[in-house]
């Protein structure tokens, strides 16, 4: 297993995809702060160039990293079935479960690195370029991030598992969109009419990440309360366990 993890690390960090994904994420958040700084410099009374606004913007968009987790999943599997590289690993006596779990572990580590760089860049550039609204909003963003980490890992694991289940990258993408985005959206809409759907929707990751409601001072997120924070973790961990189960079943049955 250790050898499998080592080799995955070697591959992921010796190819450009992870760097590219991290670079694009970092560039996007930096650009966002730079544009706001630029606007505040040349526009009188521009109200949005504050850390309160930008950090809250990211916190209301926690479903975007969930979408990006599928991209990380795609980087990790690297279309192994098409390139037939996994066939070599199996032919040389590696267990399919080890191959799968190594990908999950390395994918988690790569996602963590990508998240760390992007968020550090975002918070750092926010403090550097924009008006400081106080530490409360930074803490809120960090809390939101901590609440969503299991869900993002579940998103990445889901892509890896669905890739092996469908046998194709396109199959992985479409089934991921269906399960992770379309179903929660539909259930969420049905939740406006049916209570049962509303309760179910509150446990679905995509709906959980994108849920906000107005509070007395500012927005309330799924993770704003302690119970909500725990619920995010529980839902994420259930997602990880379910998708790992699916992935192991799929890779065991897949003929190469």
């Amino acid at each position: 297993m250790t050898n499998c993890i080592k080799s995955e690390f070697y591959r992921v960090f010796h190819t450009k995809e992870v760097y590219l994904l991290t670079g694009v994420c970092l560039l996007a958040v930096l650009l966002f702060n730079v544009v706001l700084w630029f606007m505040s410099t040349f526009t009188m009374d521009f109200p949005w160039a504050t850390t309160k606004y930008v950090f809250s913007m990211l916190e209301t968009s926690m479903h975007i990293p969930l979408l990006l987790s599928a991209v990380m999943g795609s980087v990790v599997v690297s279309d192994e079935l098409k390139h037939r590289t996994i066939s070599n690993s199996v032919a040389f006596g590696l267990s399919r479960e080890q191959i799968y779990l190594a990908k999950v572990i390395v994918g988690t580590a790569a996602s963590a690195a990508c998240l760390l760089v992007t968020e550090a860049g975002f918070i750092g550039s926010g403090y550097l370029l924009l008006e400081n609204s106080g530490p409360a909003y930074t803490m809120s963003l960090l809390k939101g991030t901590a609440a969503c980490i299991p869900a993002w890992i579940a998103g990445m694991v889901a892509f890896i598992s669905l890739y092996y289940a469908t046998g194709k990258e396109s199959g992985g993408i479409w089934s991921w969109i269906l399960i992770m985005v379309a179903v929660p959206t539909v259930v969420g809409l049905l939740g406006l009419k049916f209570e049962l759907c509303a309760r179910l929707s509150s446990w679905l990751l995509y709906a959980m990440m994108s849920h906000t409601e107005p509070g007395e001072e500012w927005l309330i997120y799924s993770w704003s309360t302690t119970a909500g924070f725990m619920k995010c973790h529980v839902a994420g961990i259930i997602g990880i366990a379910l998708f790992i189960g699916l992935g192991i079943m799929a890779i065991r049955r897949r003929e190469l």
Binding site: N3, C4, K6, S7, Y10, R11, H14, T15, K16, S78, H83, R84, T85, I86, S87, N88, S89, V90, A91, F92, G93, L94, S95, E255, L256
Partner: protein
Amino acid sequence: MINSNVIIQTHQLTKQYGQALALDHVDLSIPKGSIYGLVGNNGAGKTTLLKILLGQVFPTSGSFSLWEAQEETAWRRNRRRCGAIIEAPGFFPNMTAVQNLEYYRLQRGIPGKEKVSEKLKEVGLADAAHKKFRQMSLGMKQRLGLALALLGEPELLLLDEPINGLDPAGIIEIRSLLQKLNREKHITILISSHILAELENMATDYAFLSRGKVIQQLSAKRLHELCGTYLEIRVTEPERYTALLEKELHQRDYKVLPDGTIHISGQLEDVTPYSKLAVEQGIGLLALERREMQLEDYYMHLAEDAQRR
């Protein structure tokens, strides 16, 4: 009972894809130290057999042993002693030759980083070490596949069409390398190829496959005996001529092809009695030629016979 001189033994191994039988109750024994040639047309079941042995596809029924192993965990342990190329060699397209081999070296826990460059040199790819896989020619990819197969110092090589895409010089080079590995390191090699002449120069044993069935297993020595000289005769009345062959010349070792051509095998130093027989009996002799049976001809005859049965 497993014979210790046999590395691979299959028993009634069968693989079905939907309604199609890719392997049909295959019984094979691969002796230790042999270069075992799998001969068969496309769709004969060669690749499916190799994939089952390597755990890439699952048999529908039947069993096999790999050394003494007869179940998945033990197969996996013994597969670590194998090297393989199945179908087109699979590598990460955006990684270089060195990076691809290093990835598998780490994955398989093979000690010594220098192994990678050693193997690249051994297969003649030292100059392309830093070339990306997607930029390589088919021949180079094939060589890289062989380097990967050799990376773990295997005791058994399973090679599916390993000379596909190589130029004539490359074919000779790889063939010499495989023979050297078999001779000096006693590596057993199970090799499939549709370029039958290539196996003819290398294999010590053969299995002929057709439509998923093993139609014959034999040693190279026996094959050479069977593939010896034969007489090809075309006459105006084949049925009468063959009856006379048996009656007058006591020759029963012959075969009549669908077009009426007669093939006579055996000791054929003097061909005069065969022409004389036709002339004396008033049968028109259209052609009489001494021929050498090649492996390819032999396989074609076997496959035709198997299809007729």
